[in-house]
């Protein structure tokens, strides 16, 4: 009997038992199920399912992951060179896409991915078996997002604790994928930030080994651009570096260029909402412009602690920190975002606007994107409520015109 037939017999054997969801998760990963349409509905269905949808998001994330692996190594060696006072010519093939850099990526970034998926899917499977529902696909994307938004030197045990917290409190207590209020990946990121603030918000965690070397003769710096701006320091990176992503930062968030490629994949396949992506950038640019004007009119001067980030040119805000990554991969989460098209414009704009505001006014941790998105996750249903109410009011008016 064929492999397909054997699996089918196993499925029938386990039907209704506790372990059925676990078996089905693996079975449906290999084979599209043999389920047919039921009475009282359409007899045919379109080709898309949730697995396919989530798969596209993962594909869109892969360039960022690969880049992050090389960048982890590049930043490491660049920091050592800087500490030793060596300057060398930068070429993409010669100094970026090297095996040495990739090796750092393999030993530092890949474990983050494996731990994120391993721990997260384990929790998902346990919940599916306990509650008797199918293993849902939401974590396929969350598990890929998490390693991309944490600093490279995040200890694996911290990540594991955060993932368990994020999946259980962020998602499963609400009923699983589709029911959660907060973006699970950002819940995990927020947990890391608030549970281990000294580790997560320092200037060392962004480059591999920077923490270990602190205080020794080999000390290296791991400062991000935002950190430098927040301390009113000059930043040594060119616009090209910032846009392409040859800068320190969370694993996958640095390359605006590759994030935009991911965005174009999401928009082309109609899986990510272009409305949200565009309006986040518009909102961020608007807030950036306002701050630029405040500086231009000398309301805030160089003596202010906000000067460094306020004086950052508005378009530069769009390329540094996690704004682009948040706009493309986080804000577009359909479950936690606004669900109406009109609401998506408002939701995206406010995320961008608040991101830059938090970035400028939060001296302790100058990255506001994840806080802004989490905040707007909470308000998304409120935005939708008022958008839908517009439709309801229109209907009521139609009735009044009739009866009057």
């Amino acid at each position: 009997m064929s492999f397909k037939g054997n699996l089918h017999n196993l499925k029938e054997k386990y039907r209704g038992t506790k372990m059925a969801p676990a078996f089905n998760a693996i079975h449906t990963f290999l084979y599209l199920p043999n389920e047919v349409t039921h009475a009282g509905g359409t007899h045919i269905k379109a080709a898309d399912d949730l697995k396919r949808t989530m798969n596209i998001v993962i594909v869109a994330l892969l360039p960022c992951l690969l880049f992050g692996m090389f960048n982890a190594g590049y930043q490491y060696y660049a920091a050592i060179d800087a500490a030793n006072g060596i300057t060398s010519e930068f070429t993409i093939l010669g100094s970026f896409l090297t095996l040495d850099n990739l090796w750092i990526g393999i030993i530092k970034v890949l474990p983050l991915v494996i731990v994120s998926y391993g721990v997260g899917l384990l929790v998902e499977f346990i919940f599916a078996v306990i509650k008797g529902h199918e293993v849902e696909e939401g974590y396929l994307v969350t598990g890929m997002l998490v390693p991309l938004i944490v600093p490279v030197d995040t200890p694996l045990w911290m990540l594991s604790v955060a993932v368990v917290f994020g999946v259980v409190i962020g998602k499963e207590v609400f009923g699983g994928t589709g029911m959660n209020i907060l973006n699970p990946a950002l819940t995990i990121r927020a947990f890391l930030f608030f549970a281990y603030p000294t580790w997560m918000s320092g200037d060392k965690v962004w480059v591999y080994d920077a923490v270990e070397r602190t205080g020794t003769a080999d000390a290296i710096s791991g400062e991000t651009i935002l950190g430098s701006y927040a301390q009113n320091q000059e930043v040594a990176y060119s616009t090209f570096d910032k846009f392409m992503g040859f800068i320190p930062g969370s694993v996958g968030e640095t390359s605006t260029f590759l994030i935009l490629i991911g965005a174009s994949i999401l928009i082309f396949t109609k899986i990510g909402s272009w409305r949200i992506i565009l309006s986040v950038f518009v909102g961020a640019a608007a807030m950036g412009l306002i701050f630029n004007q405040i500086v231009a009119f000398d309301i805030i001067t160089e003596t202010s602690k906000f000067y460094g980030l306020m004086n950052t040119v508005w378009w530069e805000h769009l390329t540094i920190g996690g704004l682009a990554f948040g706009a493309v991969f986080m804000a577009t989460d359909p479950v936690t975002g606004s669900q109406t098209n009109k609401g998506k414009w408002i939701y995206g704009f406010l995320i961008g606007f608040l991101s830059i505001m938090i970035r400028v006014f939060n001296p302790a941790y100058p990255e506001g994107v994840f806080l802004a998105i989490l905040l707007m996750n909470v308000f998304a249903p409120t935005i939708d409520h008022y958008v839908v109410k517009g439709n309801v009011t229109k209907r009521m008016k139609r009735l009044k015109v009739k009866t009057a």
């Binding site: 397909k4 699996l7 089918h8 449906t28 990963f29 290999l30 084979y31 599209l32 199920p33 043999n34 389920e35 047919v36 349409t37 039921h38 009475a39 009282g40 509905g41 359409t42 007899h43 045919i44 269905k45 379109a46 080709a47 898309d48 399912d49 949730l50 697995k51 396919r52 949808t53 798969n55 596209i56 199918e134 849902e136 696909e137 939401g138 699983g176 994928t177 589709g178 029911m179 082309f268 396949t269 109609k270 899986i271 909402s273 359909p334 479950v335 669900q339 109406t340 098209n341 998506k344 939708d384 839908v388 439709n391 309801v392 229109k394 209907r395 009521m396 139609r398 009735l399 009739k402």
Partner: protein
């Protein structure tokens, strides 16, 4: 006077197996059946006893809520069986047809000179009332309510739907008589929507307001047309009737006989020659599809692939249907079917699905769900195929958690299950939209009247 309605949101599902314009007469079946389930919301009270002789036009059962609404036998013969299900619910009344058909004579009438009350009574006694359905709730019209308008859709856009211009050709007189009759039933207008290339069959009709619709499915759904012409408000009722039912009413007025013969389209890839046949309502499926159907792991549907009902080969043609579709069952596994590129299925996304490259291609879709049932996740996709001024996902969710205030406010009165067929088709989470809407409408009808 003609008004143009342009539908932009929607999706034309192009399938193989369109019926050729060639009609054969199917022989008289040995068994016919009238199924109360075709008349949603009607509780039948049986009149005909097993073994009784009936003529075509004799009463089989009537509605428990209004005993004027009769359901008549489409053929003459003997009541051979009353099929009952759980709790003795009547599932079907089967009639063994006589070789010689005898019709009951209801007497010819001229609708022009009749009053509304006379037309109504004539439709009651002749068993034609069930052809008139109402919105809201999508059930057989309640004769005690006054409709603000009557809607007729002469445009079809559903997948593989029977071409009305072809099936009704030469029935101008019947159609006009039917339209005149129903126009008596409302103080408001009778709205007739037709496609851009409608022939004189429709465009010459009198006593109606003409509209031209264009655009993708669901432009032919009467619900879409109502929402663009004169949307339903709370407390209002509109009636709808199909052209193929109007000619039965028309013929009744002209001849005095109830002739429930329709031209049926046999469509779908499982017919060796998709074409048209004539058959009487309630005919046995096997007889209608004889020598044509490849019944090898086939889904037979009375109606279209979006809103039709599944029937077996020994089942019967639905009361309102003028189409039988047969497509392959999809009860097989597909290796890595969820991530490999897909060329042979329809999709509105471009997630490694390539139907957007070939908009004119005809597809041979099967009944596989292409994925498992999930909670609602993706947003914004339903709106692309849903032309009504309603938030589809919000309405569906309100219907699921049964908040009557929200169901009402979000537009529950304006929808019928078939309006949610396309959103169900494209649903990534494979939610049963039409079932949700049907159950929600039943609840509203029960609670709000």
């Amino acid at each position: 006077m003609s008004k143009d309605i342009r539908i932009k949101k929607g999706l034309d599902i192009k399938l193989v197996g369109e019926a050729e314009k060639n009609t054969t007469n199917s022989p008289l079946s040995s068994v016919y059946a009238v199924k109360p389930e075709d008349f949603h919301g009607i509780t039948p009270k049986l009149v005909a006893k097993e073994g009784a002789e009936v003529k075509a036009g004799d009463t089989l059962f009537y509605s428990k809520s209004d005993e004027r609404i009769l359901f008549l036998s489409p053929v003459s013969g003997k009541v051979m069986e009353v099929v009952r299900g759980a709790r003795r619910k009547v599932l079907a009344v089967k009639i063994a047809a006589d070789t010689k058909q005898v019709h009951k004579d209801f007497g010819t009438k001229d609708a022009d000179v009749m009053s509304a009350e006379e037309v109504k009574n004539y439709l009651f006694t002749s068993g034609c009332w069930p052809f008139i359905k109402q919105r809201p709730y999508d059930v057989v019209a309640n004769p005690n309510q006054a409709p603000k308008a009557i809607f007729i859709s002469g445009h079809v856009s559903a997948p593989l739907a029977a071409d009305l211009e072809y099936t009704l050709a030469g029935k101008e007189a019947e159609l006009q008589a039917g339209v005149t009759a129903v126009s008596k039933l409302t103080e408001g207008k009778v709205h007739l929507s037709v496609g851009q290339e409608a022939s004189s069959l429709f465009t010459n009709l009198k006593n109606v307001e003409h509209h031209k619709v264009s655009g993708p499915h669901p432009s032919g759904n009467v619900g879409t047309q109502i929402s663009k012409i004169n949307p339903i408000n709370k407390g209002e009722v509109v009636w709808v009737i199909t052209p193929q039912d109007l000619i039965i009413i028309g013929e009744l007025f002209l001849t005095g006989k109830l002739n429930m013969t329709r031209t049926i389209a046999l469509t779908g890839s499982q017919f060796s020659t998709p074409q048209y046949v004539t058959a009487i309502v309630g005919a046995n499926i096997a007889d209608v599809t004889a020598n044509n159907l490849q019944n090898n792991n086939t889904r037979i549907i009375s109606g279209n692939v979006l809103s039709g009902k599944e029937v077996k080969e020994d089942g019967f043609l639905g009361y309102y249907d003028n189409q039988i579709t047969a497509i392959p069952e999809g009860d097989d596994y597909e290796f890595f079917g969820w991530n490999k590129p897909v060329f042979n299925k329809i999709s509105t996304s471009r997630a490694l699905t390539f139907s957007w490259l070939t908009p004119k291609k005809k597809y041979d879709l099967n009944t596989n769900t292409n994925g498992e049932h999930r909670a609602f996740v993706v947003t914004g996709s339903y709106e692309e195929v849903f032309p009504l001024d309603i938030y589809p996902m919000q309405l569906l969710k309100a219907f699921m958690y049964k908040d009557l205030d929200e169901m009402e406010a979000l537009g529950g009165y304006e929808v019928a299950p078939e309006d949610f067929a396309l959103t169900e088709f494209i649903c990534v989470s494979k939610q049963p939209h039409q079932k949700i809407i049907r159950e929600g409408l039943d609840l509203m009808r029960e609670e709000l009247g």
